[in-house]
Symmetry: C2
Subunit: 269 residues, 2 copies
């Protein structure tokens, strides 16, 4: 995602602002801590420039620097990021329904929106006994291999489905759907059934069951899911639970839509 817009792969002619963005884009979930050399290499900026901008970012609170010389994203950026409507509106509205679903199942409960060609996880609730899963708040999941993703993709414009297929359907396990025709048929099923499920398609041993969250005009604005262990799972029992919770949330979302700002269109794929 970092090469997305003006985050910049070319260094020459970059504006000062884009250099800042390039430095921030260097931090990724798999490697949230970087030293100066790594930061310079990742951002493609000279060491001196990287050092100067990183120091300014630390001064502001956007980065933190520990004694070992490792930079990390700072609390000030977390705080500012929490003002993004994507979280503020939908998440606040959804938390009570997510709690209900968690209490009824004691499984991982997740809320996601589509951002470009990926699902972006807005919130996740899990307990001590829930299955450990890969999704994290602020993390991204593939659209073709997760319950959340399939729901979001099934209700996305056809051009998005085409783009996902064109980008390739990587096999995350031996059960991932990698055939375009099979994926399209699966999405049709999702639309007809009103929910999506995956078994072992993202991670071996886990099943996800997801249902759409509708805003006004039957527009799908998000997806709600639970993720459980494959072996203990009875999809026929769990899918009505997820659908019921999603329907309740949809009602509240549709009623409060004027307060929720639509998820961004300005940098969608």
């Amino acid at each position: 995602m970092s090469q997305r817009m003006s985050g910049g792969s070319t260094v020459a002619g970059q504006t000062a602002a884009s250099k800042i963005f390039t430095i921030l884009d260097a931090f990724v979930p798999d490697e949230p801590g970087l030293n100066l050399t790594q930061l310079s290499r990742r951002s493609g900026l000279p060491l001196a420039t990287t050092h100067r901008l990183a120091r300014e970012l630390v001064g502001w609170g956007g980065l933190e620097l520990d004694e070992a010389g490792t930079y990390r994203i700072g609390v000030r950026l977390w705080e500012i990021g929490s003002l993004a409507p994507v979280r503020g509106g939908l998440r606040e509205l959804a938390i009570a329904d997510m709690e209900d679903l968690y209490e009824a199942t004691h499984e991982n409960v997740q809320l996601a929106v589509r951002d470009g060609l990926e699902a972006l996880v807005l919130e996740k609730i899990s307990g001590r006994h829930s299955l450990e899963i890969v999704a994290r708040v602020g993390g991204r999941l593939p659209l073709h291999a997760t319950g959340l993703g399939k729901v979001l993709l099934a209700h996305a414009p056809e051009s998005v489905v085409d783009a996902v297929i064109e980008a390739g359907l990587p096999a995350l396990t031996e059960h991932t759907i990698t055939d375009p025709a099979e994926l399209r048929a699966c999405l049709e099923g999702v639309r007809q059934n009103g929910f999506a499920w995956t078994r072992d398609e993202m991670t071996l041993g886990s099943v996800s069951i997801a249902a759409p969250i509708f805003g006004p005009n039957e527009l799908v604005v998000a997806a709600l899911s639970i993720v459980v262990r494959s072996r203990v799972t009875d999809v026929a029992r769990l899918s009505p639970t997820v659908k019921t919770a999603a329907r309740g949330l949809s009602r509240r979302v549709a009623a409060s839509w004027h307060r929720i700002v639509p998820t961004p269109g300005s940098h969608e794929a």
Copy 2:
């Protein structure tokens, strides 16, 4: 460097980076959407500069611009902010204990750290029947008038207590402690009892009960609280519940401390 710390109130001599920070700092919880004129006025930057930088920020995904011309914090900043260790480490570790506390009480459950002279809310769980409260994830609460704040202040260096008192103890309700000596006595009680509580001190009608989260070496790294309606509350019944949950979380925090990065010191007050 010193005038950059606050995001810059002086415009002359500002670096390009600090101008970006000034623009981002203009967005606050009470007013998360700003038009160009407001953004320019708030940041103290000329309209043309504001427009150019805002457009760069929109291109990157750090701001969003809707059809009405309103700028808001964008999903990219939310996503990057979610990489901050303050959230990533402690929040992920705490969520299961917070769930337990929520299920036992069905009240608002909150986790906060001290950031400078305020409490910063890292996570909040609430249900359909919980009392509606002012705290939001990423929001800040006063140290002298909330349960979370009193716990964090009671275990902060004496210099922090002095600074809070020096900054003034605003009366948020008629029950807020505004007398320095009374506050110091209250904090002593918090240390002795192992928990803090407030009644109607932040908001009329609500009681908060909070307990410290200890890291290694008996260092207090966070506070856990529940907030309930004043009239239904039996502090004697609820405080052991909160203390028990906090103790369980403290054990896990101390055991995983090597994976949790300490909350930032680089821009503390």
